[in-house]
């Protein structure tokens, strides 16, 4: 059995590309971490708000990277293994120490320095936020804190403040001095340390502006005329936004970017709504050319890309509830152009579609997708706004401010905390239930206090679903809710997230930090994985055991334990059972039933435990793969230790009736019970390009039918060759054969070869 604190040494978050190397010497990094630790220790008896700012003062402005030659906007930051943050994608959470990164850092040092690192590690062992969370709340078997090592558990939890969508409209309207005034106005002089901390944080912001302005000016000396002009504009903007509200597009971008950086925020929300009017005015007054504006956006894109948060960096355009849609769309169109020209993995550029989306913007979006950009991801206001009104229990006006973050969770700009701090694996849950409480993956008992039945005593499908799977499922869901609440409690004991608090309703009004009762809607979400493997498995069990009586539950479980060795015919029967994603009602209804159960219980228990809302999200990063590698064989025919179905989609290759059928299956899950569910769809490039008008019709119909989201991948012909070697990676690559279209990997090898040669033939 794994020690639950081993988790602290394991890697936590998805990091496809390593971060840029820190541009300070190891000795300097070590000194900063020592200084941070000293300040943290020295402020133990001070209010947490004051401690937070004093600690931030160690990091800023010192940990800024130098301004890159390509930057038109200032603000690059390196996170050290010890420091302060909101999310694991940049450093860690609260006052943190990332032990595995500290260990890596230690390796390159001399003996004396190593001793100093060990002293730091010893100090943080009990003070790191995540360590406290693990020690206080994780049992290590049924639930552990997020990491690669926690996937043996059926549920896991995290402590973090992900996806904050700050009210930048307020920021650009008031400016830093405006925020100061509001704080002074609200502070009735009784020494509320929250207000004191906020003012100190704003001072720090101003100091950072000065620091970066000076650096820009220094770099301007001796720079080529054009670069000199850019750097001096940067310095001017920084000196303006240090106090005043921004007047120009450049100043507004600079303010938003630097504020987000200091807040530790890595999703940027509805930037068209925030920046559109500045852009429009600058263009009209001739302060900027279109190209200059685009260069600024490109610089922003590069800064986001270089942060390398992999699953974040959301920039959203379009949709209802913007103050000046016409101005916003000017910004949106430039973003779409930048999206075509810069092939970055971030920002995760997102387009909200609504009744007034200009047709040219939809066409541009489709063009980006056709060229393989994978962006923008498409969201449907008509589905999401009523859905979120219900799930989050908010007004229409509030729901209009939805902003997807991360892999597809939701926040409302300036209004909610929606961080996903718990995750559940429904397939593993089913496998444990079927194996009477013991996880076939590692032989450990994971049913806790739930009394599960012997399989021989189960008479009906309903009994199996309700009494066996259902009971265990409900127990796990409740653990998730508890973990989410505990994460907030623990964070609130330690930190105030001052920069976040200042731009979220109603913290300044109430004089309270986000998690101290300040935020208007304290919500959250639980990520569900393996949804479809689970429901397809339940369907197969229903069919084969209870309807056809072909096998007993025991035989099914024995086959799964043996990973189908000696049970090949049974596996074929399981595979032959209908699967979700083909628009076949009987099996899709089981998927809907599973979805309803988990989403409704998560929400109900969350609300009972005092959250304003708690919703499920069906999203995907790499967890479906990594968790699958620690999940035993399932009754849908999926083999032992194989990836789970991605997000809300069928298991790869299970959808055989084409995209309309797949999309029809997707819309059967009622939107009102989730706070984000993403759909992947993938097309072959020339096919997509040649039929782009039909693709537009396909997507438009799906959205009219109530679809909430689409992520479109269009891959080029080189992918076909790769698909022959690695077919498992291309389960739904649609190709035009001749007179008919087909899923590439379903074709005979000979046909594939024929298609390959032909494609190359036509390629030029």
């Amino acid at each position: 059995m794994a020690d639950k604190t081993d988790i602290l040494k394991a890697t936590t978050n998805v990091e496809i590309l390593p971060k840029l190397p820190i541009d300070k010497t190891p000795e300097e990094q070590l000194e900063i971490m020592e200084e941070y630790t000293r300040v943290h220790q020295a402020t133990e008896d001070e209010p947490k708000e004051i401690r937070e700012v004093k600690c931030l003062r160690v990091l800023y402005p010192r940990m800024f990277r130098s301004i890159d030659d390509r930057d038109l906007i200032a603000g690059r930051y390196d996170a050290l293994p010890i420091g302060f943050g909101c999310v694991t994608s940049v450093g860690g959470v609260g006052h943190y120490c990332i032990f595995n990164k500290l260990e890596t850092f230690r390796e390159g040092l001399d003996e004396e320095q190593k001793g100093r690192v060990d002293a730091l590690a010893a100090y943080w062992e009990r003070r790191d936020t995540k360590a406290q969370f693990v020690n206080a709340y994780m049992d290590g078997v049924i639930m552990n804190a997020f990491s690669n090592a926690s996937y043996a558990c059926p549920v896991a939890a995290g402590i973090r403040l992900s996806g904050m969508m700050l009210d930048y409209n307020k920021l650009v309207a008031k400016g830093i001095d405006g925020l100061r005034q509001e704080i002074r106005f609200r502070d009735d002089g009784d020494g509320n340390p929250f207000y004191r901390g906020c003012l100190m944080a704003l001072d720090l912001f101003a100091d950072c502006c000065d620091y970066l302005a000076k650096e820009a000016e220094k770099r301007a000396e001796g720079a080529a005329p054009r670069r000199r002009k850019e750097l001096l504009r940067m310095a001017d903007s920084l000196r303006r936004i240090k106090k005043e509200p921004p007047q120009t597009f450049h100043e507004a971008v600079q303010l938003v970017w630097l504020y987000a950086l200091l807040a530790g925020v890595i999703n940027y929300g509805r930037l068209d709504d925030v920046l559109g009017e500045f852009l429009q005015r600058d263009l009209e007054e001739g302060l900027l050319t279109r190209q200059e504006a685009k260069d600024i956006i490109k610089s922003l894109w590069l800064l986001i890309e270089n942060k390398r948060t992999t699953v974040n960096g959301r920039v959203i355009i379009g949709g209802r509830g913007r103050k000046n849609p016409e101005a916003a769309d000017i910004f949106g169109r430039l973003c779409l152009e930048v999206c075509r020209e810069c092939r970055y993995v971030e920002p995760q550029f997102t387009l909200r579609l609504y009744e007034d989306t200009p047709p040219d913007m939809f066409d541009m979006a489709m063009q980006c997708l056709a060229e393989g950009a994978t962006y923008p991801t498409l969201y449907n206001d008509a589905a999401h706004i009523p859905g979120l009104m219900h799930c989050m229990r908010v007004s229409e006006q509030a729901a209009e401010q939805y902003a997807p973050f991360g892999c597809g969770e939701m926040n409302l700009v300036g209004l909610t905390i929606g961080t996903p701090n718990s995750i559940i694996n429904l397939t593993k849950t089913l496998n444990i239930a079927l194996n009477e409480g013991v996880d076939p993956y590692d032989g450990l008992y994971k049913a806790g206090p739930v009394k599960l039945k012997k399989l021989e005593d189960i008479r009906t499908y309903e009994e199996f679903y309700e009494e066996q799977y259902g009971k265990l499922h409900d127990y796990y869901v409740d653990l998730c809710v508890e973990a989410q609440c505990n994460s907030y409690k623990l964070l609130n004991q330690n930190v105030s997230f001052l920069f976040n608090s200042m731009l979220m309703a109603d913290c300044l009004e109430k004089g309270k930090a986000l998690l101290d009762g300040g935020i208007r809607y304290l919500g959250g979400c639980c990520e569900t994985y393996g949804n479809i493997n689970c429901s397809d498995s339940l369907y197969a069990i229903k069919k084969l055991v209870f309807d056809q009586r072909k096998y007993t539950l025991r035989q099914i479980n024995d086959a799964l334990l043996a990973d189908f060795q000696g049970y090949e015919a049974m596996r074929r029967d399981m595979l032959d059972c209908e699967k979700y994603g083909n628009d076949q009602d009987e099996v899709d209804e089981i998927a809907v039933e599973c979805y309803n159960r988990v989403s409704q219980r998560v929400r109900r228990i969350g609300i009972e435990k005092g959250l304003h809302y708690y919703g499920i999200v069906i999203i995907n990063n790499e967890a479906n793969t990594k968790w699958g590698l620690k999940t035993s064989a399932s009754a849908d025919g999926r083999k032992n230790l194989v990836y789970l179905n991605p997000s809300n989609n069928p298991q790869g290759g299970a959808d055989k009736n084409g995209p309309t059928a797949m999309l029809n299956s997707l819309v059967k899950l009622p939107v009102k019970w989730h706070v984000g569910a993403v759909q992947n769809i993938k097309f072959q490039k020339s096919f997509f390009m040649e039929n782009i008008e039909l693709m537009k019709s396909l997507f438009r119909t799906y959205f009219k039918n109530g679809g909430c989201q689409l992520m479109v991948t269009v891959v080029d012909s080189g992918a076909l060759e790769d698909a022959m070697v690695h077919p498992e990676k291309y389960p739904d690559l649609i190709v035009r054969v001749s007179g008919f279209s087909a899923v590439f990997v379903n074709l005979r090898k000979e046909t594939q070869q024929e298609l390959l040669s032909r494609t190359l033939y036509d390629a030029v």
Binding site: D583, T660, T701, S738, F740, S741
Partner: protein
């Protein structure tokens, strides 16, 4: 209560986007009076379930030999051999095949069940200007079923298309006409005798139907010309075909370049493919005929 007929179908293909305009569903009906040597859907020629055996998926367990209730599967050199004339299509062998090497194509489905499937994508038809296409085989072979389906589609407002060889009594075509928005009408050759000889169809009837249909509704017709090397792939033949089409007042023609993608199916059905040496054509090779079509006042697509 309405009595719905049963159809012999191969499948209902959804998101079919090359059998007429927009996003469509195509119903493949079984049965065909013709036996074109290049046929890419040999399993569509006769009605009923056809056993398909994919040797590459076979794990040679020979379980199928043991379970066949009528002994129609025998072992030969470690592989199963199927006596398809005796096969009753019971599916027992398929149910024990661990590799999924055995499948059946062709099943019976009631027209209301077919329309139920078609109705699921109605919103996609509407948005894209698509609809439903009946293909085959030759859909007119099951005329009572086809007619019922056409009426049901018309009641629901779907755009309808038929891919046809034209080899059916005129009365059928005339009866169908009010319910069909588009005929994708095969014109395989200009010479009726040639059609008789090569395809086994009734060339004269086909040409008469084409002319007669065109006289009533030329704008509902797109002529489809399968271009087959060694059969009709000469400039002279294609010119004469274009001339024939144009003389009937039809304005649109599609050239369908010969492909070999149905070849594997022949061996899976235990049949021989007679055009094995003929090379596939590319779209590019036919692109010159677009201009030639224009000489005849035809809009030619490839």
């Amino acid at each position: 209560m309405t009595q719905y007929r049963e159809a012999y179908i191969m499948e209902v293909e959804r998101f079919a986007i090359h059998d007429g305009p927009g996003i469509r569903s195509t119903v493949f009906l079984q049965g065909c009076p013709l036996r074109c040597p290049w046929c890419a859907n040999p399993e569509s020629q006769t009605q009923g379930p056809h056993l398909m055996y994919q040797a590459r998926k076979c794990v040679r367990c020979l379980g199928c030999v043991q379970v066949c209730p009528i002994g129609a599967v025998t072992a030969f050199e470690g592989r199963p051999q199927f006596d398809r004339d005796r096969c009753i299509g019971c599916g027992t062998c398929k149910s024990v095949c661990p590799g999924g090497a055995i499948s059946y194509i062709g099943s019976r489905m009631r027209t209301d069940a077919i329309v139920q499937i078609l109705s699921r994508d109605a919103a996609y038809y509407r948005e894209s200007g698509g609809g439903v296409t009946f293909s085959g085989g030759e859909p007119f072979v099951q005329f009572p079923v086809l007619y019922e389906l056409l009426v049901l589609c018309r009641e629901r407002g779907y755009h309808t298309a038929i891919e046809t060889t034209g080899d059916t009594p005129w009365e059928n075509m005339e009866k169908a006409l009010p319910f069909v928005d588009l005929f994708l009408f095969d014109v395989k050759h200009w010479n009726a005798g040639w059609i008789d000889r090569v395809t086994g169809g009734n060339g004269e009837r086909i040409q008469a139907n084409f002319a007669r249909l065109a006289s009533l509704a030329a704008d509902k017709i797109t002529a489809r010309i399968p271009v087959i090397p060694g059969y009709n792939y000469t400039e002279d033949d294609l010119r004469r075909i274009f001339a024939l089409i144009a003389s009937c007042g039809v304005k649109r023609a599609d050239l369908l370049p010969y492909h070999t993608l149905g070849v594997d199916k022949y061996s899976e059905l235990g049949r021989k493919y007679s055009l094995r040496s003929v090379k596939m054509l590319s779209k590019k090779e036919l692109s010159g005929y677009r201009d030639m079509g224009r000489e005849y006042g035809l809009q030619v697509e490839i």
